[in-house]
Amino acid sequence: MSSVSVPPSDVSAGLLARIAQGDREAFGRFYDAFAGLALGLIRRILRDPAAAEEVLQEVFWQIWREAARYDPRRGSPEAWLIVRAKTRAIDRLRAMRRREKTFVAPVDEAVASAPDLPAENPGVTAERRELAHAVLHGLPESQRRVVELAFFEGLTQSEIARRLGEPLGTVKTRARLGLERLRSMMKREGDIQP
């Protein structure tokens, strides 16, 4: 079962339409509904809490500026947000890695001095991470690798194929099978914990 309650897509799409008109209150509601979702994903990619919250702010600033570009034919509002959060987080990760390669002492002072979030409850957070970890590890290794490389490393399918030394067609099939399996796993989980 989802750890957050996500409003129906048409409600979220309505919020985005209002945000596109500069509606501050709609933006606040959209943020409240999805910031937690986005932050969890960003932290899964970045790990550093301070950098993750910076990216979260950038992502929602982008939402505020570009809400008019949302096209409901091309997916749900939350998927639109998730892709942006993922892309921004991966961009930041790559920038941090480049910097680590550039400097001999790769200590980012900001990162080093940033205190860990006085998180809601570290135990709960860790537990949820384990849960997501467990969900993905419920996939066969070959499918999990494809899903992880796509989603958490931001590789395209042909990049994944090169990385794994597999034919492109195989990668495409594994992505689909992986998601289908995840879907049935999430449904089962939902059934057990309604």
Binding site: S3, R43, A68, S76, R128, L136, Q157, A175, R176, M186
Partner: protein, 262 residues
């Protein structure tokens, strides 16, 4: 396109992992309203969302506060940006990617220039206002400092001016310094009729009165005027106020309202 292929494209799309060409193909299907493609995408997107939701975390309140503050700071120019960016899209929804990109880039450029102009105009105006205010404050400060200097100087004398039959209850006080000039404050004078004003005269013995400035009074009958020192001539011993044509005249012509001797 067969069903398997659609499902594969939908999965790759939901993961954000399609290569450029595949993505364009799948988006073309979505844009064309292909029901199967949409259903598959909805399904996979929900799965991705549910997996992501497992790790949801509550952000620090400061993140939202910072965003809201940023929005408030930008809100004035925001409406124009949206208007400019959305206008060409609404007019022609189906365009090639390149056209949209080009129009978007031009619109963004125009929007940036428009916002820049608005912002710079607003700030220019503000800077002008502040400059003007600063000049006024400096002038006021100089007047006050001059007055304080006159008051502190032991050579400064005070002359009381009394009301004459034209305005018996009127009173005046002149702070006078031979070298620095003086300040006259009057009260109880009737408002000057249209086209008229009160004129101050500095008189030395039997010599002709020397014009020393024109002033008006407010609704309460109070007015004041800074009087320049009398150049070259003898030290004045008498000050008087008459009602004259608004621009002032070289020699008194109207009724006298106030008079006082040093």
């Amino acid at each position: 396109m067969n069903r398997d292929e659609i499902l594969e494209l939908a999965a790759g799309y939901a993961l954000g992992a399609l290569d450029t060409e595949d993505r364009a193909r799948f988006e073309a299907l979505l844009d064309a309203g292909d029901a199967e493609a949409r259903a598959a995408l909805r399904d996979f997107e929900a799965t991705v969302r549910d997996v992501v939701a497992e790790t949801a975390e509550v952000p620090a309140p400061a993140v939202k506060a910072a965003l809201m503050a940023r929005i408030d700071g930008e809100s004035r120019s925001r409406a124009e940006v949206t208007q400019i960016l959305s206008a060409p899209r609404a007019a022609a929804p189906r365009r090639s990617l390149w056209t949209i990109a080009l129009v978007g880039a031009i619109a963004a450029g125009i929007a940036a220039i428009a916002v820049g102009l608005v912002v710079s105009t607003v700030y220019d105006r503000r800077i002008d206002q502040l400059g003007q205010q600063q000049v006024e404050l400096q002038q006021e400060l100089a007047r006050q400092q001059e007055l304080v200097a006159i008051l502190q100087d032991p050579a400064t004398r005070t002359v009381a001016l009394a009301g004459l039959p034209a305005a018996p209850s009127a009173r005046g006080r002149m702070l006078w310094h031979a070298k620095a000039g003086g300040l006259l404050v009057a009260q109880g004078l009737p408002p000057a009729p249209p086209g008229k004003a009160y004129e101050v005269w500095a008189i030395s013995g039997k010599e002709a009165p020397v014009p020393a400035g024109v002033f008006t009074v407010d609704a309460r009958g109070v007015g004041s005027i800074r009087v320049a020192p009398v150049a070259g001539g003898a030290e004045p011993d008498t000050f008087a106020v008459t009602l004259e044509p608004a621009g002032g005249v070289p020699a008194p012509t109207g009724s006298m309202y106030l008079v006082g001797k040093l």
